[in-house]
Every structure is written in C-alpha cells, then in structure tokens.
Amino acid sequence: MAKAHYKKKMSPAQRKSLMKRSIPIYIMALPGLIYLFINNYMPMPGIVLAFKNYKAKDGIYGSKWAGFKNFRYLFSTQDAFVITRNTICYNLVFIVVNTFFAVMVAIILSELVAKIKKFYQSVILLPYLLSAVIISYLVFAFLSAENGFVNNTILKAFGVNPISWYQEKKYWPFILVFVNLWKGIGYNCIIYLSTIIGIDRGYYEAASIDGATKWQQISKITLPLLRPTIIMLTLMAVGRIFYSDFGLFYQVPQNSGALFPVTNTIDTYVYRGLLELGDITMSAAAGVYQSLVGFVLVLVANLTVRKLDPDSALF
C-alpha cells in the first residue's frame, strides 16, 4: 500500500520540496547513524584478524596470514553439530513463540484504558532491563535443589519428589524458552503496540458500524496491518539466528555441565574454549562466521518474502 506512493513519478520540483521537508528527519536520524558508523562500520576491517596469526608486535596488518586455520576449531569437533543445532533451533523457536506472544500482548494492551496500559507495559518491560546475572539468580531462587521455591512449595504441595533441576537436561528447553519469553516480551511488543496505535481508528469505527465483532476486527484489520512490521522484525531476527543470548545460555543454567547437551550454543562453546586461550583471532573467526551466515540468511529470507509478497520485503 505504502509503496505505491513512492512509485509515482515525481517532478524535480516536487522531489526537491520532499527532500527539504525530510531534512529534520535526517537530522533526527544522525546520532543513530553516527553510532552505527562508529560501532559497526569502523571495526569492520578487523575482520582480517580472523585470517591472521596475530602478534601484538607486528600489529593487525603486519601479522602473518593464517588462512582458515582459525576457523578449524568451529567445525572439526563432534560438538559442532550440537552447538549449531542448539543455536538455530532455539532461535527458531524464540522467533515463533516471541512473535506470537508479543503480538498477542500488544493487541491486549492496545485494548486497555490508557492508565492501566501504562502500568502493565512498565511491569512487563521490567525483566528486559535486568541483567542476565540477576535473572539467573531469580531462576535459581525457583529451581535450587535445596532451597528452591518449586521444590519446596509447588512440588511439595502435590507430593512430588524434589527434582535436581540443574542436573536434568530434559526440562531445560522449556525453561529457557519460557525465561527468554518472560524477559523479552515487554520489549518485543513495544514496536507492535506502536504500530497498532498508529492504525487509523476510522477502520475500527466503520467495522463496528457494520457489525464486526472484536475478533473480526482483530483478524481482519489489526493483523493484516501489522503484517509488514511482523515480517520486518522477523527478518531482523533471522539475521541473528547464528548468535545466541550469551547470558541466557551461560548464566541462567548456572554453567552446569549436565545441561550442556541442551544449553551449549556457538557463543558459549567459543567462550568456554577460549576462556583460557584468550585468542582474539579465534574469537574473531567465530564472529565472522556468525555474521556471514546471518547476512546470507537475511538475504535469502528477504528474497523469499519478495517472491511471496513484494510489498512486505525489506529491500
């Protein structure tokens, strides 16, 4: 819909005036762009580190080339499959679950009275602002084998034997998905909520005059109008599918060895392996690998979207 507007041919004068009107918006974007440039573009030449045999004395560019030697550790092990599987599968589940609940919560919030909405929004946003270390201890307060809330209150009430949560890997895929959802939902729903608020109320008024139920309004007006936002945010998430939230996978399971088969991801593997080696070229190799795969995945995902629905594609 919105795209049609840009596709219209504009006269040079029209274009000029559009540019002029946009200047304040570009200025507003400037701090963000500068940040992006400093933080994300300036360090990019550092990618060469991944292919170097780094010596501080010779500097980054003076050090000898090492070919793909620094990448070898990521692939030459029996764990390569497990960590890749964990990273991708968790992220896929996160994308689906988080999107579903974030949209749901956003719709519910949008239906609330303004005052209560503010309150709920703040409350569900709070966990997002907590550090992973604090979250890990909140989780521990629930799951500790000896003093935890779950073992001592809930399971006791039902007469179930205490469970050593940090030794039983079968529960953790669920725990991690839940914790991630609880932590992120307040933040994830913000963009959806702002999109919903931006929808012209006229649509809903017209619909209710025609006798549409609440459910019909949601499924026929809100969701279709949310679709571009959902697709955009999902594409962004796909780009980070090879990364994992280090705090979630390292801190929350308390680094318990028994849980590695279900909690070891590329990031935690690299961290554990390099903790003592402290080799920056190997960690740079992991970063390059994750970035490139993420980049390719975004291009592929966007291509697919463009094939199916050209208007929603990001680029």
Partner: protein, 524 residues
C-alpha cells in the same frame, strides 16, 4: 532506491556486529644500549637531573577492583622512586573477574601499561601473542636488575623461561602447594568432641598430617551433629590441581602421573588416581555430605564457613595457611593435610611480572621492578598500604590494622600479596610468625619437585583440539569431581569423548615437546 540502500546497509550492520578493538600501534621502541656496571646509576641520575620523570603504569589483579586508597599509595611509592631512580609509579589494580579480558585488550590495543602480572592471562598465550618483552635483550636484566638476580637462584629464574627466553620475573611466594588440605573450624571439631590437639607431630606445627579414614570419620560425625549445614564442599575449578600429586603442563589433557621420577605424559582421566578421587567424592555425596546445590554454588568456601552454612572444605596448604584461612573464615580453623607438598613445573610461570613489549622506557620499568624486589618500604606499601592510614606497629615487630580500620573499610587491603613482586621483604602482619619467610623458603626447598620444572607446553597448533576437549571436560568435571555422577559410568564416557576430541594427538604433541625440552636442558 535510497531507502533500499539504507535498509541494506542497516541489515549489513546488524548482521556484522563486530566488536573488535582496532587501534594497534605495536612498534617496540629501541632499547637503550647498556654499557657497564654503572649504567643503572647513570640512567637513574640522568632522569633525576632532567626532572622529567616517566610514569610507569603497573597492573595487577585484585578481588575488589581499584580500592579508594590506590592513588594515595601510588603517590607514596612514587615519593620513594622519584628520589631513588627518577620514576613515577601508577598502580592499576583490576578486578579478578575482568583482569584477563581487560589486560588482553590493553596489550592488544597499545594502551599504556608498562609492568604487569601475567596471572590468569597465561604465560604461553602472552608469549605467543608477542605481548612480552625479552628481559635479557641488550642485557636489560643484567644491567638494570641486579637486585632481582640476587633475589633468586638460577632454578627459580630458569623456571620462568619459555623456550630459553626470559619473559618474566617470578614473584617471591610459596612455590610448592600441599595437596589435599582440609580446613575445619575449631568450634565444629570441639562440638563433636574430636581431639585434634594431640595430633600435631610437633608442638609448633600448624598442619596435621593425617589419612582419609580419619577425615571421613570427622565428616561423618559433623554430618550427624549439623544436619542443616553442608558437611563438605570444594571449589570445583581447583580440584585436580589441589588434590592430586600430578604435574599438568599447561592443562590436564596429558599429565605426569609420577612427576618426581618420570617424564612420561599419561592420560589422567583413565588413571586409577582420578577414579579413586571421583569414587571417593561419589561416596561422600551419597552420604549426604555434599550439598545437592554444590554444582551451582557460587560463594567461596570461606564465605560459606563465615556464614555458618559449611563445616569443612579443601584447600591447598603452605606455611601461614592456618592464619590465612582463619582470617578468611572469621573463626579459627584446624588444617589437616592428606597429600604431599609438591612443586609443579609451572610454579614460576603462574604469575610472573613482565614488561609490555610496547613499553616506551624498558630501562625505567626494569629499574622500578628491581626496586620492588629490593626495597622493603616499597614492598610494604604495595602489600599492606601506608603506615598511620592502613596499618600501625604492634610493638613486637608485627604490623596490624589501624584503630577503627578493618578488612572491610580499609582503603587499601587487597589481599593479593602473593602476587606482589617480593612479599618476603615486606612487614609481617599480626598473627603470622615473624620467621614466616624463613619457613617459607625452607618449605619451598624441601617440597617434592617436578622433573619437568620449567617446561611449558605450547598448544597453539592444537587450539581446535584444546577447545573441543575443554568443552567436553567442563561438561563432566563438576559432576564427577563433586560426586554427582557415578564414576563407573561417567569416566568411561568422558574418556571416550576426550579421545574423539583429539586427546591422543594432543598428548603425543605434549610428549614430543617435553622430550625436546628434556634433551635441550639435559634432564634424564
């Protein structure tokens, strides 16, 4: 179109979120050429006369980051060093949790740190990355570090060499460690009516040498007496290193099981030694002596004892250990020891002081380091702080906290004297015997010494195997060594997976390097 390009850039930026420090300026300055014996004095004199004092930044690790009194102590030390060698000192303590990370960034980025302790950074890693200055280049040590040479014997300095090059100066500390020490507060032993007093071999001893039977008897009775307390816990990161008399060059993947007599690299994890340890812990765990939360425990052992939730824990022993642990626990403890005193091959390489290859004035840095090894006033300042602020004389030769000052509110109480260049010449704290350092020297001299003393293993060509094995080992280590997993099941699994991760190749390489080292150093 513009929108397309912008969004493409945005995606690219999001995907390529690289965070790598980039500012590297790694040209080592030319060292000044030393000429004769008076060069040291001349260099100092020249600086003093010019009135332009270089500032030497000195980094080390602490438990609580930079304490408020640090800058004051830097200035106090500088007052002495300005007068003696024309140098200013800036102490740069960093928190243990981030020391290695920060130092790696500083060393890689060329930020100023002239002298630093290699603790937790790994000597081999630093050498491989070219962070360290060769201390004997242009006779730097011989010309400007005579006091350092006098403070050590050749074995000690030799133990700090990596492939024949001296990159660091060891600290004066306990070079050996008593294996499998056990610390138990006096009050708990009294409560179960255990007579420890008669067990000391000599009246002035601080350690009781005993066996597992006795310890297990004590733990059983403690468990009965205090069912609500955890009976036993040990920090899972140091179990192998502090319990077993083995030598682990660089890591536990391939060790010397009989380090005093043999130079054969063997697999620790399929050895009886490891099986015995894990079986014992499994039994202790089955007895209920180990907390079900032990694997996720993050409080230090001594903190738990202080809080009253723990009865006994493992510690490495050395002269002064009883006082040290009593201080940390906040109550007097009795120290038992089950193993022998052992000096491992890496003891001098653990935490030497090194000069950054990027250092602008290596001569001044070396002269300053020399002063830290020879000047008691400076050593006392960096170990204990300032007289009249942090500590006072007790009258009998000791020093102690100033009135109203304690470990919590002191402005400079780092508790890392073992990391300081020479604590042997600093003042002695109340509670330690005045002959502590003589006893320490005797202890160092008498301990069982590894045949591979001074050997370092370079695993840079096997980094992939190392990473894989580290991941496998950390999956099993805490479960096995704290007795949560039946060793009959767990150990074979661990060994299989380590082998699949390349343990045999790794051990073969270690053996090859060790053989080459032995031949070069004439060790049989």
């Amino acid at each position: 179109m513009r929108k397309k390009i912008l969004s493409l850039l945005l995606i690219a930026a999001l995907s390529l979120g690289m965070t790598t420090g980039l500012t590297i300026s790694a040209s080592a300055d030319q060292l000044e050429k030393a000429d004769d014996g008076t060069a040291a004095q001349e260099a100092a004199q020249e600086r003093i006369e010019s009135g332009d004092y270089p500032t030497i930044v000195m980094a080390f690790m602490t438990w609580a980051g930079k304490l408020v009194g640090t800058d004051r102590i830097s200035e106090k030390i500088s007052e002495i060093t300005r007068e003696k060698i024309g140098v200013n000192v800036e102490l740069m303590p960093m928190d243990s949790a981030s020391y290695a990370q920060n130092m790696n960034l500083i060393l890689a980025s060329g930020e100023q740190v002239d002298l630093f302790n290699v603790v937790t950074l790994g000597m081999m890693a630093c050498v491989n990355k070219g962070y360290l200055l060769d201390l004997e280049e242009d006779d730097l040590l011989a010309t400007y570090g005579q006091g350092i040479i006098d403070a050590f014997n050749t074995v000690e300095l030799g133990g700090c060499r990596v492939a024949g090059t001296l990159y660091g100066i060891p600290v004066k500390k306990d070079d050996a460690a008593g294996r499998f020490g056990m610390s138990i507060p006096v009050e708990y032993l009294d409560a179960i009516g255990f007579d420890y007093a008669s067990m000391y071999a000599n009246e002035e001893d601080e350690i009781i040498y005993t066996d597992f039977e006795t310890i297990e008897d004590i733990l059983g009775r403690l468990h009965e007496q205090y069912p609500d307390k955890t009976t036993f816990y040990m920090d899972p990161t140091s179990i192998i290193g502090q319990c077993l008399l083995i030598d682990s060059p660089n890591d536990n993947f391939g060790v010397l099981l009989d380090p005093a007599n043999s130079l054969v690299i063997e697999d620790l994890f399929s050895s009886d030694l490891y099986m015995d340890l894990c079986s014992r812990m499994y039994r202790w765990n089955q007895n209920g002596w180990i907390s079900p939360d032990a694997i996720t425990e993050t409080n230090a052992t001594t903190t738990q004892v202080k809080a009253g939730s723990l009865c006994a824990y493992k510690t490495a022993t050395k002269p002064g250990i009883r006082q040290q642990e009593s201080n940390l626990c906040g109550k007097p403890v009795v120290i038992f020891q089950l193993g022998e005193d052992f000096k491992a091959s890496n003891t001098y390489l653990n935490m030497p002081w090194a000069i950054n290859q990027n250092c602008e004035d290596p001569v001044a840095a070396m002269q300053l380091l020399n002063l830290f090894y020879t000047d008691p006033d400076i050593s006392t300042l960096i170990c204990w702080g300032e007289e009249g602020k942090e500590w006072k004389e007790t009258g009998d030769g000791h020093i102690t906290f100033m009135d109203g000052v304690d470990a919590q509110n002191s402005e400079y109480y780092n508790n890392v004297n073992w990391q300081m260049p020479n604590q042997f010449i600093a003042r002695i704290w109340e509670g330690d015997s005045l002959d502590l350092w003589e006893r320490m020297q005797a202890y160092n001299d008498n301990a069982v010494t590894s045949k591979a003393m001074g050997f370092t293993f370079d695993n840079s060509d096997l980094a992939a195997e190392y990473t894989a094995m580290t991941n496998v080992y950390s999956e099993y280590s805490h479960q096995l060594e704290l007795g949560f997993l039946d060793p009959e099941v767990g150990i074979p699994e661990l060994v299989d997976r380590l082998k699949a991760a390349g343990l045999e190749d790794y051990m073969a390489e270690k053996q090859a390097q060790l053989d080459a080292w032995a031949e070069a150093n004439g060790v049989e």
